[in-house]
Symmetry: C2
Subunit: 355 residues, 2 copies
């Protein structure tokens, strides 16, 4: 049976990324060594990280003055690295979910934090739009895609102060205007790579302004200076990221990718909206095209475990909703083919016919 991976992250990757990584584990570049055992200082690996950085810049059309970094520690490490490097006195945070809340909590160790708005009272089912960012904040932090709640900020907003964005779960899902951001980061384990590498896109001129001493490994300038090779980087995850970026480019880049993502999302949301038993949890205008959250309507609520079992038996893997909202979550990242979304929709319709 074909398994469709709807996991929220680590999550589905392009078939070419998986196949070429498997080959590189056996014999990297035909040099007779595994990607698992090659020196990060070898010219073969230097070529990999150089290509990954170049493809980041090309696909996202990153302007001059920004650096692309590959670090360890996960997006969660960025929750403290961002304020360590950028927060002198005050920062503004938009609270749109669990991850946004965690980022905000961490920043409180470093200075005054203004929560400009929060949708917590509505279980984060929408993106607040009516707020003011203090003009004297060192930066404004947003979470563009709220993985757990299925809401997304899908346009590049204007901010009066440097904009910092956690794009863990929607980077590369659409073209970006990077010039509107001061720093973009994310765990790469959704749209890009296996778990173990974190990407950072940072506008260099923002750095070096805080007065606190910064431990070497937590200072972005260390990694900029050494091209992400101050110490041993996560070699294999970076290799796989490069493979995914090649796949994205081959597909036609981010405009082409966005078109496919919009089609996939429409297919699934249409099925939800026209269903007698399922209903979406996120406010329509803020729906994510990456994580689609839905539950059973009240009168069918007790069927949820049955659908979970039904869908799992038909190869739908990872569709259980996050414990904080329950129901179902289908993560339809870049690598999920339209046929996978169709298979899920068919499964929902079949279940519905039976009830």
């Amino acid at each position: 049976m074909k398994i469709y991976n709807f996991s929220a992250g680590p999550s589905i990757l392009p078939q070419s990324t998986i196949e070429n990584t498997a080959e590189a584990v056996k014999n990297f570049n035909g040099i007779g060594l595994s990607i698992l055992e090659i020196s990060h200082r070898s010219k073969d690996f230097q070529a990999v990280i150089d290509e990954a950085v170049a493809l980041f810049k090309e696909l996202l059309d990153i302007p001059e003055g920004y650096s692309v970094l590959f670090l360890g520690g996960g997006a969660s490490m960025q929750f403290c690295m961002v304020p360590y490097n950028l927060l002198e006195k005050k920062a503004a945070y938009l609270n749109t979910g669990t991850w946004a809340s965690k980022a905000l909590k961490e920043a409180k160790l470093f200075g005054e934090i203004v929560e400009v708005a929060s949708s917590k009272e509505a279980l984060f089912n929408y993106i607040p739009k009516d707020y003011t960012v203090p003009a004297d904040a060192d930066y404004f932090h947003i979470t563009t895609n709220n993985t757990i709640y299925g809401t997304e900020i899908r346009k590049d907003i204007d901010s009066p102060v440097p904009l910092v964005a956690d794009m863990s779960s929607d980077i590369f899902s659409r073209p970006l205007d990077v010039s509107k951001y001061g720093l973009i980061y994310g765990g790469a384990q959704k749209n890009l790579a296996p778990a173990g590498v974190t990407f950072v896109i940072v506008k260099e001129e923002l750095l070096g302004k805080v007065t606190r001493p910064i431990p070497t490994m937590l200072d972005y300038r260390t990694h900029i200076k050494e091209g992400s090779m101050f110490n041993t980087p996560p070699v294999l995850p970076i290799y796989s990221a490069m493979e995914t970026l090649r796949w994205l480019k081959g597909l036609g880049g981010l405009a082409a990718m966005e078109k496919i993502n919009l089609e996939k999302a429409a297919l699934l949301y249409d099925a939800i909206d026209s269903s007698k038993i399922f209903t979406g949890t996120a406010k329509e205008e803020d729906r994510s095209i990456m994580n689609v959250c839905f539950v059973m309507k009240d009168e069918y609520k007790e069927l949820e475990p049955e659908f979970q079992k039904f869908a799992t038996e038909r190869g739908m893997s990872g569709i259980k909703g996050h414990r904080s909202i329950g129901g179902f979550r289908a993560s339809i990242y870049n690598a999920m083919p339209k046929s996978g979304v169709q298979a899920l929709v068919d499964c929902m319709k079949e279940f519905e016919r039976n009830h």
Copy 2:
């Protein structure tokens, strides 16, 4: 041609680790998904991390009261995490090389540092033994194997204060008396796994004593509480680590491993000591059994580039010495078979006969 990987790290791994990781990238546990794309919260991965922790405890005979963690960021991140968590006022450091110096430098951000001894004046070619650790230090930090200089502390020393050891390049090379240590850490990319995962063995009772606030991700207690799953851990590197630990156990554990390592090291050091053109750089009594550093004697010095080429052409990969001491370095980690060391020795002898 068979390639022998003498790289200092990332470095050679057991063939079974490489083959089984390649298989898991294609189809993990036969579940129809790749290890690259499975959720770290899946029961299949939970079993992997549980087994890796259990094998750590079994092979190193770790006593009660210690936790084993798998983190991101590399050993270099531990250079700041250790003082963040353990240094209230004063700590003692033994300076035996580049890595020890970097650890010491980082700790200075957090309190008073006493360098109890240093072999810097002799280009770190020996381990100082005549020093006193202040009884009021919060901990004493050592680097058991100095990867760059080929010196090693091969017995568990006694310390009047909690002993912290960077064992990046000799963990699992011999049995340890873990009870003599407060904390052991290392990048796993030498004897254990591909790059991207860092191990920490920590005595829990040492934690929670410093007064500074600690960012969540930098606090060992976060990771102890969540079993290294506070956030997404480096899934594939942990899988490979588990495979290497299985291999080690199958070999008979650390006593068996040490015996093999001693034989391999003796083979290579004997060749160096009986050579008319090569000479070792580390003081005999402090020689590492993991990284064997040697140069050409003064009268043959100009032959170094020729030997480099000669050996490379015969499949010896990664034997160039670190730029800070030059010459050659053969890293003969656990996974390097005796036949590999023999191949290098043969190569040295053949070169010698030709000159």
